[in-house]
Symmetry: C2
Subunit: 181 residues, 2 copies
Protein backbone atom coordinates (compact mmCIF):
# COMPACT_ATOMS: atom_id res chain seq x y z
CA UNK A 1 0.00 0.00 0.00
CA UNK A 2 1.04 3.62 -0.37
CA UNK A 3 2.52 5.27 2.67
CA UNK A 4 2.49 8.80 1.27
CA UNK A 5 -0.49 10.74 0.02
CA UNK A 6 -0.30 11.90 -3.59
CA UNK A 7 -2.76 14.66 -4.50
CA UNK A 8 -2.52 14.19 -8.26
CA UNK A 9 -3.11 10.44 -8.06
CA UNK A 10 -6.10 11.06 -5.81
CA UNK A 11 -7.59 13.50 -8.31
CA UNK A 12 -6.97 10.95 -11.10
CA UNK A 13 -9.26 8.53 -9.34
CA UNK A 14 -11.85 11.09 -8.25
CA UNK A 15 -12.16 12.33 -11.81
CA UNK A 16 -12.95 8.82 -13.16
CA UNK A 17 -15.63 7.55 -10.78
CA UNK A 18 -18.63 9.37 -12.28
CA UNK A 19 -17.90 8.09 -15.79
CA UNK A 20 -17.31 4.56 -14.50
CA UNK A 21 -20.65 4.51 -12.68
CA UNK A 22 -22.33 6.06 -15.68
CA UNK A 23 -20.97 3.36 -17.98
CA UNK A 24 -22.05 0.63 -15.57
CA UNK A 25 -25.51 1.93 -14.69
CA UNK A 26 -27.06 4.23 -17.29
CA UNK A 27 -29.99 2.51 -18.97
CA UNK A 28 -29.69 -0.63 -16.88
CA UNK A 29 -33.04 -2.29 -16.02
CA UNK A 30 -34.46 -1.27 -12.64
CA UNK A 31 -34.17 -4.84 -11.39
CA UNK A 32 -30.46 -4.05 -11.07
CA UNK A 33 -30.63 -0.48 -9.86
CA UNK A 34 -33.79 -0.15 -7.76
CA UNK A 35 -33.60 -3.25 -5.57
CA UNK A 36 -31.75 -3.39 -2.27
CA UNK A 37 -30.19 -6.08 -0.09
CA UNK A 38 -33.23 -6.40 2.14
CA UNK A 39 -34.51 -4.56 5.20
CA UNK A 40 -33.59 -0.89 5.12
CA UNK A 41 -30.46 -1.33 2.98
CA UNK A 42 -29.84 0.97 0.05
CA UNK A 43 -30.54 0.50 -3.63
CA UNK A 44 -27.91 1.45 -6.21
CA UNK A 45 -30.11 4.45 -6.97
CA UNK A 46 -29.88 5.58 -3.35
CA UNK A 47 -26.10 5.12 -3.30
CA UNK A 48 -25.74 7.57 -6.20
CA UNK A 49 -27.89 10.02 -4.24
CA UNK A 50 -25.53 9.58 -1.28
CA UNK A 51 -22.51 10.29 -3.49
CA UNK A 52 -24.17 13.48 -4.71
CA UNK A 53 -24.94 14.54 -1.14
CA UNK A 54 -21.28 14.03 -0.27
CA UNK A 55 -20.24 16.26 -3.15
CA UNK A 56 -22.54 19.01 -1.93
CA UNK A 57 -22.06 18.85 1.83
CA UNK A 58 -19.05 16.75 2.82
CA UNK A 59 -15.69 16.80 1.04
CA UNK A 60 -15.10 20.30 -0.22
CA UNK A 61 -16.92 22.06 2.61
CA UNK A 62 -14.64 20.17 5.00
CA UNK A 63 -11.53 21.04 2.98
CA UNK A 64 -12.54 24.70 3.18
CA UNK A 65 -13.15 24.37 6.91
CA UNK A 66 -9.60 23.08 7.38
CA UNK A 67 -8.11 25.97 5.40
CA UNK A 68 -10.26 28.54 7.20
CA UNK A 69 -10.36 27.24 10.77
CA UNK A 70 -7.92 24.34 11.10
CA UNK A 71 -8.85 22.25 14.10
CA UNK A 72 -10.45 25.12 15.98
CA UNK A 73 -13.89 24.41 14.54
CA UNK A 74 -15.09 20.83 13.89
CA UNK A 75 -16.61 19.75 10.61
CA UNK A 76 -20.37 19.86 10.36
CA UNK A 77 -21.74 16.33 10.80
CA UNK A 78 -22.58 14.53 7.56
CA UNK A 79 -26.22 13.53 7.15
CA UNK A 80 -26.30 9.86 6.14
CA UNK A 81 -29.98 10.28 5.31
CA UNK A 82 -29.28 13.31 3.17
CA UNK A 83 -29.56 11.31 -0.05
CA UNK A 84 -33.34 11.29 0.35
CA UNK A 85 -33.56 14.93 -0.62
CA UNK A 86 -31.21 14.33 -3.56
CA UNK A 87 -33.20 11.49 -5.15
CA UNK A 88 -36.80 12.55 -4.71
CA UNK A 89 -38.66 12.54 -8.03
CA UNK A 90 -35.51 11.97 -10.07
CA UNK A 91 -34.40 9.28 -12.50
CA UNK A 92 -31.15 7.40 -12.15
CA UNK A 93 -29.94 9.11 -15.30
CA UNK A 94 -30.58 12.51 -13.73
CA UNK A 95 -28.63 11.47 -10.64
CA UNK A 96 -25.69 10.25 -12.72
CA UNK A 97 -25.61 13.64 -14.48
CA UNK A 98 -25.78 15.49 -11.18
CA UNK A 99 -22.99 13.40 -9.66
CA UNK A 100 -20.77 13.99 -12.66
CA UNK A 101 -21.42 17.73 -12.69
CA UNK A 102 -20.96 18.15 -8.95
CA UNK A 103 -17.70 16.17 -9.03
CA UNK A 104 -16.36 18.20 -11.95
CA UNK A 105 -17.14 21.45 -10.15
CA UNK A 106 -15.53 20.22 -6.95
CA UNK A 107 -12.35 19.14 -8.70
CA UNK A 108 -12.09 22.54 -10.38
CA UNK A 109 -12.41 24.14 -6.95
CA UNK A 110 -9.89 21.71 -5.46
CA UNK A 111 -7.31 22.52 -8.12
CA UNK A 112 -7.94 26.23 -7.59
CA UNK A 113 -7.01 25.80 -3.94
CA UNK A 114 -3.44 25.09 -5.13
CA UNK A 115 -2.77 23.08 -2.00
CA UNK A 116 0.87 23.03 -0.90
CA UNK A 117 2.56 20.18 0.97
CA UNK A 118 2.10 22.26 4.10
CA UNK A 119 -1.63 22.64 3.38
CA UNK A 120 -1.94 18.86 3.10
CA UNK A 121 -0.63 18.50 6.65
CA UNK A 122 -3.08 21.02 8.08
CA UNK A 123 -5.24 19.69 10.90
CA UNK A 124 -8.98 19.40 10.98
CA UNK A 125 -11.41 18.23 13.63
CA UNK A 126 -13.88 15.47 12.81
CA UNK A 127 -16.93 15.55 15.10
CA UNK A 128 -16.55 11.83 15.93
CA UNK A 129 -13.06 10.75 14.84
CA UNK A 130 -11.20 13.71 16.27
CA UNK A 131 -7.89 14.86 14.81
CA UNK A 132 -7.51 14.43 11.04
CA UNK A 133 -5.52 16.16 8.31
CA UNK A 134 -6.28 17.63 4.92
CA UNK A 135 -4.49 14.78 3.16
CA UNK A 136 -6.51 12.20 5.12
CA UNK A 137 -9.72 13.99 4.12
CA UNK A 138 -8.81 13.97 0.43
CA UNK A 139 -7.62 10.35 0.51
CA UNK A 140 -10.91 9.41 2.16
CA UNK A 141 -12.86 11.19 -0.56
CA UNK A 142 -11.29 8.80 -3.11
CA UNK A 143 -11.57 5.72 -0.90
CA UNK A 144 -15.22 6.61 -0.25
CA UNK A 145 -15.84 6.35 -4.00
CA UNK A 146 -14.30 2.89 -3.87
CA UNK A 147 -16.33 1.77 -0.87
CA UNK A 148 -19.49 2.63 -2.78
CA UNK A 149 -18.32 0.92 -5.98
CA UNK A 150 -17.77 -2.07 -3.70
CA UNK A 151 -21.26 -1.70 -2.25
CA UNK A 152 -22.90 -1.23 -5.66
CA UNK A 153 -21.32 -4.42 -7.03
CA UNK A 154 -22.56 -6.25 -3.92
CA UNK A 155 -26.12 -4.90 -4.13
CA UNK A 156 -26.32 -5.91 -7.78
CA UNK A 157 -24.82 -9.36 -7.21
CA UNK A 158 -27.32 -9.95 -4.41
CA UNK A 159 -30.13 -9.80 -6.96
CA UNK A 160 -28.63 -12.89 -8.66
CA UNK A 161 -27.94 -14.87 -5.50
CA UNK A 162 -30.66 -17.36 -6.32
CA UNK A 163 -30.37 -17.62 -10.10
CA UNK A 164 -26.66 -18.48 -10.12
CA UNK A 165 -27.47 -21.76 -8.32
CA UNK A 166 -24.47 -23.63 -6.91
CA UNK A 167 -21.98 -21.10 -8.33
CA UNK A 168 -22.78 -18.76 -5.41
CA UNK A 169 -20.13 -20.71 -3.48
CA UNK A 170 -17.46 -19.39 -5.84
CA UNK A 171 -18.61 -15.78 -6.02
CA UNK A 172 -16.85 -13.82 -3.30
CA UNK A 173 -19.15 -10.84 -3.62
CA UNK A 174 -22.03 -13.03 -2.44
CA UNK A 175 -20.16 -13.74 0.77
CA UNK A 176 -19.55 -10.08 1.56
CA UNK A 177 -21.60 -9.38 4.65
CA UNK A 178 -22.34 -5.74 4.22
CA UNK A 179 -19.43 -4.13 6.06
CA UNK A 180 -19.48 -1.70 3.16
CA UNK A 181 -22.39 0.61 3.71
Amino acid sequence: MMSEFNLQETIELLSRTPAALDALLRGLPENWTHRNEGDDSWTVFEVIGHLIHGERTDWMPRARRILESGNTRPFDAFDRGGHQQEIRGKSLEKLLDEFSNARTENLVALREMKLTPADLEKPGLHPALGAVTMSQLLATWAAHDLTHVHQISRIMAHQYREVVGPWSAYLGVMHCNGHSS
Copy 2:
Protein backbone atom coordinates in the same frame (compact mmCIF):
# COMPACT_ATOMS: atom_id res chain seq x y z
CA MET B 1 -33.53 -10.60 -5.16
CA MET B 2 -34.72 -11.96 -8.46
CA SER B 3 -36.11 -15.46 -8.46
CA GLU B 4 -36.28 -15.86 -12.23
CA PHE B 5 -33.44 -15.55 -14.70
CA ASN B 6 -33.87 -12.90 -17.39
CA LEU B 7 -31.55 -13.29 -20.39
CA GLN B 8 -31.98 -9.75 -21.70
CA GLU B 9 -31.25 -8.17 -18.31
CA THR B 10 -28.17 -10.36 -17.98
CA ILE B 11 -26.91 -9.22 -21.37
CA GLU B 12 -27.58 -5.61 -20.38
CA LEU B 13 -25.11 -5.96 -17.52
CA LEU B 14 -22.56 -8.03 -19.44
CA SER B 15 -22.48 -5.44 -22.19
CA ARG B 16 -21.64 -2.61 -19.76
CA THR B 17 -18.80 -4.03 -17.68
CA PRO B 18 -15.94 -3.44 -20.15
CA ALA B 19 -16.83 0.24 -20.59
CA ALA B 20 -17.23 0.70 -16.84
CA LEU B 21 -13.80 -0.76 -16.13
CA ASP B 22 -12.32 1.23 -18.99
CA ALA B 23 -13.72 4.47 -17.58
CA LEU B 24 -12.43 3.64 -14.11
CA LEU B 25 -8.97 2.37 -15.04
CA ARG B 26 -7.64 3.65 -18.36
CA GLY B 27 -4.75 6.03 -17.77
CA LEU B 28 -4.83 5.63 -14.00
CA PRO B 29 -1.39 5.74 -12.33
CA GLU B 30 0.17 2.32 -11.74
CA ASN B 31 0.07 2.87 -7.99
CA TRP B 32 -3.64 2.10 -8.34
CA THR B 33 -3.51 -0.64 -10.96
CA HIS B 34 -0.26 -2.54 -10.44
CA ARG B 35 -0.22 -3.04 -6.67
CA ASN B 36 -1.89 -5.95 -4.94
CA GLU B 37 -3.25 -6.69 -1.46
CA GLY B 38 -0.08 -8.42 -0.31
CA ASP B 39 1.31 -11.96 -0.61
CA ASP B 40 0.24 -13.63 -3.85
CA SER B 41 -2.97 -11.63 -4.26
CA TRP B 42 -3.83 -10.11 -7.61
CA THR B 43 -3.31 -6.60 -8.94
CA VAL B 44 -6.11 -4.85 -10.82
CA PHE B 45 -4.04 -5.49 -13.96
CA GLU B 46 -4.12 -9.24 -13.28
CA VAL B 47 -7.87 -9.18 -12.65
CA ILE B 48 -8.46 -7.76 -16.12
CA GLY B 49 -6.29 -10.58 -17.52
CA HIS B 50 -8.47 -13.07 -15.62
CA LEU B 51 -11.63 -11.54 -17.11
CA ILE B 52 -10.14 -11.89 -20.60
CA HIS B 53 -9.22 -15.50 -19.93
CA GLY B 54 -12.81 -16.17 -18.88
CA GLU B 55 -14.09 -14.68 -22.13
CA ARG B 56 -11.81 -16.97 -24.11
CA THR B 57 -12.09 -20.24 -22.21
CA ASP B 58 -14.96 -20.22 -19.74
CA TRP B 59 -18.40 -18.78 -20.43
CA MET B 60 -19.20 -19.30 -24.08
CA PRO B 61 -17.29 -22.59 -24.44
CA ARG B 62 -19.37 -23.88 -21.53
CA ALA B 63 -22.61 -22.61 -23.06
CA ARG B 64 -21.71 -24.45 -26.27
CA ARG B 65 -20.89 -27.58 -24.28
CA ILE B 66 -24.37 -27.52 -22.74
CA LEU B 67 -26.06 -27.15 -26.12
CA GLU B 68 -23.91 -29.86 -27.68
CA SER B 69 -23.56 -32.41 -24.89
CA GLY B 70 -25.91 -31.45 -22.05
CA ASN B 71 -24.73 -33.10 -18.86
CA THR B 72 -23.13 -36.07 -20.61
CA ARG B 73 -19.75 -34.35 -20.81
CA PRO B 74 -18.46 -32.07 -18.03
CA PHE B 75 -17.09 -28.59 -18.66
CA ASP B 76 -13.34 -28.31 -19.09
CA ALA B 77 -11.83 -27.04 -15.83
CA PHE B 78 -11.11 -23.29 -15.78
CA ASP B 79 -7.46 -22.35 -15.26
CA ARG B 80 -7.33 -19.75 -12.49
CA GLY B 81 -3.70 -19.10 -13.45
CA GLY B 82 -4.61 -18.63 -17.09
CA HIS B 83 -4.44 -14.83 -16.83
CA GLN B 84 -0.65 -15.05 -16.80
CA GLN B 85 -0.60 -15.86 -20.49
CA GLU B 86 -3.09 -13.06 -21.19
CA ILE B 87 -1.09 -10.27 -19.51
CA ARG B 88 2.51 -11.05 -20.44
CA GLY B 89 4.16 -8.05 -22.09
CA LYS B 90 0.93 -6.07 -22.33
CA SER B 91 -0.21 -2.70 -21.02
CA LEU B 92 -3.39 -2.24 -19.01
CA GLU B 93 -4.82 -0.28 -21.92
CA LYS B 94 -4.21 -3.23 -24.25
CA LEU B 95 -5.96 -5.55 -21.79
CA LEU B 96 -8.95 -3.23 -21.53
CA ASP B 97 -9.24 -3.26 -25.32
CA GLU B 98 -8.97 -7.03 -25.44
CA PHE B 99 -11.58 -7.50 -22.74
CA SER B 100 -13.98 -5.18 -24.54
CA ASN B 101 -13.46 -6.88 -27.89
CA ALA B 102 -13.74 -10.39 -26.51
CA ARG B 103 -16.93 -9.51 -24.62
CA THR B 104 -18.49 -7.91 -27.69
CA GLU B 105 -17.73 -10.99 -29.78
CA ASN B 106 -19.12 -13.29 -27.13
CA LEU B 107 -22.35 -11.34 -26.80
CA VAL B 108 -22.82 -11.45 -30.58
CA ALA B 109 -22.36 -15.21 -30.42
CA LEU B 110 -24.72 -15.49 -27.45
CA ARG B 111 -27.46 -13.60 -29.26
CA GLU B 112 -26.94 -15.76 -32.34
CA MET B 113 -27.66 -18.84 -30.21
CA LYS B 114 -31.26 -17.56 -29.93
CA LEU B 115 -31.71 -19.41 -26.68
CA THR B 116 -35.28 -20.48 -25.94
CA PRO B 117 -36.76 -20.86 -22.45
CA ALA B 118 -36.20 -24.60 -22.87
CA ASP B 119 -32.52 -24.01 -23.75
CA LEU B 120 -32.11 -22.00 -20.54
CA GLU B 121 -33.21 -25.02 -18.52
CA LYS B 122 -30.79 -27.39 -20.24
CA PRO B 123 -28.42 -29.19 -17.87
CA GLY B 124 -24.66 -29.01 -17.79
CA LEU B 125 -22.08 -30.74 -15.66
CA HIS B 126 -19.56 -28.66 -13.74
CA PRO B 127 -16.39 -30.62 -12.89
CA ALA B 128 -16.58 -29.63 -9.21
CA LEU B 129 -20.09 -28.27 -8.57
CA GLY B 130 -21.98 -31.00 -10.43
CA ALA B 131 -25.40 -30.33 -11.94
CA VAL B 132 -25.97 -26.82 -13.26
CA THR B 133 -28.17 -25.25 -15.94
CA MET B 134 -27.65 -22.90 -18.87
CA SER B 135 -29.42 -20.08 -17.05
CA GLN B 136 -27.22 -20.55 -13.98
CA LEU B 137 -24.13 -20.40 -16.19
CA LEU B 138 -25.23 -17.15 -17.83
CA ALA B 139 -26.30 -15.58 -14.52
CA THR B 140 -22.90 -16.50 -13.11
CA TRP B 141 -21.15 -14.85 -16.04
CA ALA B 142 -22.78 -11.54 -15.02
CA ALA B 143 -22.27 -12.07 -11.28
CA HIS B 144 -18.63 -12.93 -11.97
CA ASP B 145 -18.19 -9.47 -13.50
CA LEU B 146 -19.61 -8.03 -10.30
CA THR B 147 -17.37 -10.11 -8.03
CA HIS B 148 -14.37 -8.70 -9.84
CA VAL B 149 -15.65 -5.12 -9.74
CA HIS B 150 -15.99 -5.76 -6.02
CA GLN B 151 -12.43 -7.11 -5.86
CA ILE B 152 -10.99 -4.25 -7.95
CA SER B 153 -12.53 -1.63 -5.66
CA ARG B 154 -11.07 -3.48 -2.68
CA ILE B 155 -7.57 -3.80 -4.16
CA MET B 156 -7.54 -0.09 -4.95
CA ALA B 157 -8.90 0.94 -1.55
CA HIS B 158 -6.22 -1.18 0.13
CA GLN B 159 -3.57 1.11 -1.32
CA TYR B 160 -5.04 3.99 0.69
CA ARG B 161 -5.50 2.08 3.95
CA GLU B 162 -2.74 4.07 5.63
CA VAL B 163 -3.24 7.51 4.13
CA VAL B 164 -6.92 7.81 5.10
CA GLY B 165 -5.90 7.76 8.77
CA PRO B 166 -8.76 7.27 11.25
CA TRP B 167 -11.39 7.28 8.49
CA SER B 168 -10.54 3.65 7.72
CA ALA B 169 -12.98 2.74 10.48
CA TYR B 170 -15.83 4.13 8.37
CA LEU B 171 -14.81 2.66 5.01
CA GLY B 172 -16.47 -0.73 4.63
CA VAL B 173 -14.30 -1.73 1.70
CA MET B 174 -11.29 -1.66 4.03
CA HIS B 175 -12.96 -4.25 6.26
CA CYS B 176 -13.64 -6.67 3.41
CA ASN B 177 -11.45 -9.66 4.09
CA GLY B 178 -10.85 -10.91 0.61
CA HIS B 179 -13.67 -13.41 0.22
CA SER B 180 -13.90 -11.95 -3.26
CA SER B 181 -11.05 -13.36 -5.26
